[in-house]
């Protein structure tokens, strides 16, 4: 009996959607676009956050050497760096290698570098402090200490980048909440109005249902299902598009876009489930608002 009721309600909801297919197509499209924007915000936020977390787990530094130093001095600096607690030299980039990397980065414009009389780039060591809690370490102190070493010209560290990205992340979070809130309201508005139109189109049928003894729930249930289905369809389509876009961008090396360090990942399970649940929830609420506001005047 219980399942029979909901199956019948689902059947009537699908029939409502088919009968009003144009309106539903337009509103589902609009809902999809709204969720696409919202999902994109979350996707960008999740990716930057993941990258920052990864970066935050280790403090990396580039130690630039003075120009013209010999092999002996270089080894002495390396020894000094290895002697630092928790430090590991991950790479040595010679002057030639640095130039080679610059040429690669310049691509077709690399010919510009041919005009240089001598290689101005310094050699450097890439240094990583493993398992260092970035928050409790003062990279400025390490930087100052390393710069006091003989033959070291300058030290740059990753947190300078992290600070900049954390700012972007905070902005994205705030913008996401504001934009997400507004988009949710828009979705609610669209669903409520679509169902309002269905209710008006079904006025006669609803009147007859009440006439032959239908309970309020019997009449209302299909509209709630309709709202939930519409929200779900919009949410699912948006997630599908986002997944497609993510896959497309992941396949194309992002070096082209000068962001070589970000390996784009799709939304985590919690975000997918969250967006799915939010879309159904908004659909149900939209349906409830519509039947709450327009049901009684119809049935009279």
């Amino acid at each position: 009996m219980f399942f029979g009721f909901w199956i019948q309600a689902l059947r009537r909801a699908l029939s409502n959607i088919l009968d009003q297919r144009l309106i539903h197509f337009i509103s589902t499209g609009t809902i999809t676009i709204s969720f696409l924007f919202f999902g994109a915000f979350i996707l960008v936020w999740v990716n930057i956050n993941a990258w920052l977390l990864e970066m935050g787990q280790s403090l990396s530094m580039s130690v630039y050497l003075e120009d013209g130093i010999g092999e002996e001095e270089r080894l002495r600096v390396e020894e000094a760096l290895e002697g630092l607690s928790g430090a590991e030299v991950t790479d040595y980039i010679s002057k030639d290698k640095a130039m080679e990397e610059l040429r690669e980065a310049f691509g077709p414009q690399a010919a510009l570098l041919d005009g240089l009389e001598r290689n101005p780039l310094p050699a450097s060591f890439e240094l990583v402090f493993k398992e260092v809690d970035v928050k409790d370490t003062d990279p400025e102190m390490i930087k100052a200490r390393l710069e006091s070493l003989p033959d070291v010209e300058e030290v740059q560290y990753s947190e300078q980048w992290i600070d900049r990205f954390e700012g972007i992340l905070n902005f994205l979070r705030t913008a996401g909440v504001v934009v997400g809130g507004l988009l949710c309201l828009a979705v609610l508005f669209i669903i409520t109005n679509t169902i309002k139109l269905t209710i008006y189109a079904r006025r006669d049928e609803m009147e007859i249902f009440k006439l032959v003894g239908a309970t309020d729930w019997f009449v209302k249930a299909p509209f709630l299902i309709e709202g939930a289905l519409q929200g779900l369809m919009g949410g699912a389509l948006a997630l599908g598009f986002l997944f497609g876009l993510t896959t497309m961008f992941s396949l194309q090396p992002l070096v082209t876009y000068a962001i070589p360090f970000i390996d784009i990942v799709f939304l985590p399970v919690w975000a997918v489930l969250g967006l799915g649940a939010l879309s159904v929830f908004l659909g149900l609420v939209g349906g409830l608002i519509a039947v709450g506001r327009f049901f009684n005047p119809v049935v009279g």
């Binding site: 029979g4 019948q8 049928e205 249902f209 309970t215």
Partner: protein
């Protein structure tokens, strides 16, 4: 079966029903008549629970309509059929679907819905027209669909508001015969009409309304 105690229905300053006291016994066939605006339709709607009286009590099958929940009223309506002058059919649904809807709302199984709908359509003489749409049928046939829908749940009461108002005399006779058959099966029937012709051919109990009040009653002969 139906009892009205001092029922008044007021619309602003106008009383559609004024202090009505009426008792209709189980299995009775009662005509309610009077000029336009006398309160016939209001009376039927009050008995159906579609209108709440401004004052007074309405008891249907011993249940006080003012004291039951909306849900119970809905359930009760499955046992009260209602037939209108304008049929109130869904033009986009077939004859079968129009009738079956009254069983669908009760959550009845599909096989039983099919069986009972066929039976009821046969009883009103429409078994050959199940797949037709209402606009394809005559006025009399459309009213038969409405009657089939009203009786498919075996109602204890059937209310009919000017059911022959838009039908020609021959069809009216057919429809009245159908009502008599339904009444003979034990269904209490209350039929509102202003047709003098219909009343002149009947010996049933008749309640005359005027300005919302009962002017007089004629007992069955």
């Amino acid at each position: 079966m139906i009892q009205l105690f001092n029922v008044t229905k007021q619309y602003g300053q106008n009383a559609a029903l004024a202090d009505i006291n009426l008792r209709i016994r189980q299995g009775e066939f009662v005509f309610v008549t009077g000029p336009s605006g006398a309160g016939k339709s209001t009376l039927l709607r009050v008995v159906f629970g579609a209108l709440k009286p401004t004052s007074g009590q309405v008891l249907v099958g011993g249940i006080n309509l003012a004291r039951i929940s909306r849900y119970k009223l809905d359930i009760m309506r499955r046992k009260i059929g209602f037939v209108f002058q304008d049929f109130k059919l869904l033009d986009g649904k077939t004859v079968f679907q129009n009738v079956a809807v009254a069983l669908q709302v009760t959550g009845e199984r599909a096989s039983i819905i099919r069986k009972k709908t066929h039976q009821t359509l046969r009883a009103v003489g429409l078994s050959q027209k199940e797949g037709y749409y209402p606009p394809e049928l005559s006025g009399g046939e459309q009213q038969r669909i409405a009657i089939a829908r009203a009786i498919i749940n075996d109602p204890i009461i059937l209310l009919a508001d000017e059911p022959t108002g838009s039908l020609d005399p021959d069809i009216t006779r057919e429809i009245m015969l159908l009502f008599r058959t339904i009444n003979l099966r034990g269904t209490t029937l209350v039929l509102a009409t202003h047709s003098r012709e219909l009343l002149s051919n009947t010996s049933q109990r008749t309640v005359y309304l005027k300005n919302g009040g009962i002017e007089r009653e004629m007992e069955p002969q």
